[in-house]
Symmetry: C2
Subunit: 332 residues, 2 copies
DNA sequence: TCTACGGATCGAAACGTTTCGATGTGTGTG
DNA sequence: CACACACATCGAAACGTTTCGATCCGTAGA
């Protein structure tokens, strides 16, 4: 494979001249520049990124670490990030956090192959992130409770979202509302529950306990919980599920038992995944501003890259989206 | 930032010893190795990936270039790729092809920052791919009609899929079946149409012309086409849409006109995106084996990396999934 | 004609690793 | 006691760039 040296030899100029020429530096005469370009083309010269990165100590690339690539949820987030990155002439790559501690993602964090990282992946632990972050590797954490040097955080207000969802049900007249939580260790679920508590207290309604109904954040998880709820003596008036996947699982379980939504039980989810609009009845949910989150995160990253170091954590508001699953007396 | 040299100095050993120690080479004594590790820890030493890549001339990373990250469609594909990559101790990154010719993705193709590339992005042109591929950068193209040196192809049998979908409708007794195509320039749509033709000919049914109904491969596109169809004098008996998104758009348009599916019109889509299962009536469609496609592509890539160069193109079969939207006399 | 200067090009060092041949040390064998 | 040998460590070159100061050349000003 041709290197810059080969090009220099073939063109009878110094290596440095080729380097300058390729970069379009005005110091090299136009005629020689054209000649060099031509020869480079002929030799199929392609620069070696690693060498350049090594020398310049910058990669002009940022990395987004996600739980799994292609989750429907991430599409908008990535778009928000990419728009900002592109505007800054930066490249964006995405990497899945699969493999955990010694997996793929860690090498992007630890081996300085990128200039900055945005992390939305619960299974990467705080310690790793703190170790990775440094003066020349800012890290933006999404939806994570972590403050550390060179680590900056952007979050969605899950608590307020949970509050909105619950209050919506309360205002519709429901009082016996249960909360179906995600796995015990997720912060998101916890915060949504706190919002639920706050609203329930405000209306002096009786809360379900934190761990009464706990699922796996997947449709299957919701389905299982739904079966349990349905087989108990009395149904609740409404259910607030910690995310849409679970809400949809609940709907399926209820459907199989002949329980009608929202007539018999109202349901509210969280996340506004694309399916929630298509499910019947369409699911009332809370939308997280994913595009904004991506965009804000990327902007903070570039601010950090530019030298700012006192970036305050940002919290973005969530938005209630009312559909049929929570509207009393509506059928499909 | 501490380098290997700093560690060597602090430990009073040569740089090469540190290098060996870190890699766990048995040549360095266990006691010194532990000492070095400890000092590295203390100094917060982190290897410089660029330097290593430069020296070893391998990155142990493959890159997947997709149209947009996070399309629901890609999730499985990436999983298939990652599983194989991980088994080979390789890392996987994904990059969006946004930006086209001089965009982000191109640098992964052209600047040798990865060991191999898998491309599923129509907007990257053949020329770029051919230029990028070389003895030390095999490229696997997905769903693309391209043969070239160091370029290998994996495809789904779109034609057979289109045939299956159409034949299914024909066997259900429909004869007046129209085909709603994607944008003119996409190969996939074209092939699916050919399958449609084949089946229609076999049953001596009258085909719609290739460009009678053309949408944008999005729900909006399907919706628009649906409006047009609905406002014409007579409805077809059935519609075969070139992908699910469009099929769902069609369903929405028909729904708004009071046209019932499948009673008034049967609908079949293509892709088996997740929503198609939740839409009412659930959409009959053709599943592309995305996981397999990813897995096969990755396997071919590693075969190429290992030196094989005579890898034959692979075509994977598509699978018909019958749901309610095409089953005569079923309502929801 | 000499000097100064700007433009074009060059040469060498540096970036942080890996790797290979060389070197130094201690142990067991004859 | 000399020798060979395995073991542990070292030193230097190389990977392909970028960058900075040096050099060379021709021209304008004195």
């Amino acid at each position: 494979m041709a290197t810059i040296k080969d090009v220099a030899n073939a063109a009878n100029v110094a290596v440095s001249t080729v380097s300058l020429a390729l970069r379009g530096d005005p110091r090299v005469r136009e005629s020689t520049r054209r000649r060099i370009l031509e020869i480079a083309q002929e030799l199929q010269y392609r620069p070696n990124g690693a060498a350049r990165d090594l020398k310049t100590r910058r990669t002009e690339t940022i990395c987004v670490i996600l739980h799994d690539l292609g989750g429907p949820f991430y599409s908008e987030l990535l778009l928000g990030i990419q728009d900002v990155a592109t505007a800054n002439d930066y490249n964006t790559i995405a990497s899945a956090s699969i493999g955990g501690k010694n997996g793929s993602a860690v090498r992007w964090l630890l081996e300085r192959r990128v200039d900055g990282v945005i992390v939305l992946a619960p299974e990467i632990d705080n310690e790793t992130i703190i170790r990775a972050a440094g003066p020349d590797l800012p890290v933006i954490v999404l939806d994570r409770d972590l403050v550390a040097k060179h680590v900056y955080s952007v979050r969605v207000d899950n608590e307020q979202g949970g509050y909105k969802a619950t209050r919506h049900l309360l205002e519709a007249g429901y009082r016996d509302i249960i909360f179906v939580s995600g796995p015990a260790d997720t912060l998101d679920s916890e915060l949504r529950y706190r919002g639920y508590e706050m609203a329930m207290d405000e209306f002096s309604a009786k809360k379900s306990k934190r761990f009464d109904y706990m699922g796996k954040f997947t449709e299957e998880g919701g389905y299982t919980v739904g079966k349990v709820i349905a087989s108990q003596g009395t149904l609740p008036e409404a259910v607030f599920a910690a995310n849409d996947e679970m809400a949809i699982g609940l709907m399926r379980a209820f459907g199989e038992k002949g329980i009608q939504i929202p007539r018999d039980v109202a349901i509210v989810g969280f996340d506004n995944i694309r399916i929630s609009e298509y499910v019947r009845p369409a699911l009332t949910t809370v939308r997280q501003p994913m595009y904004d989150m991506g965009s804000v995160a990327a902007q903070m990253l570039f601010a950090a890259l530019a030298g700012s170091s006192d970036l305050n954590p940002v919290t973005l508001p969530a938005e209630l989206i009312v559909r049929q699953s929570s509207v009393r007396g509506m059928y499909v």
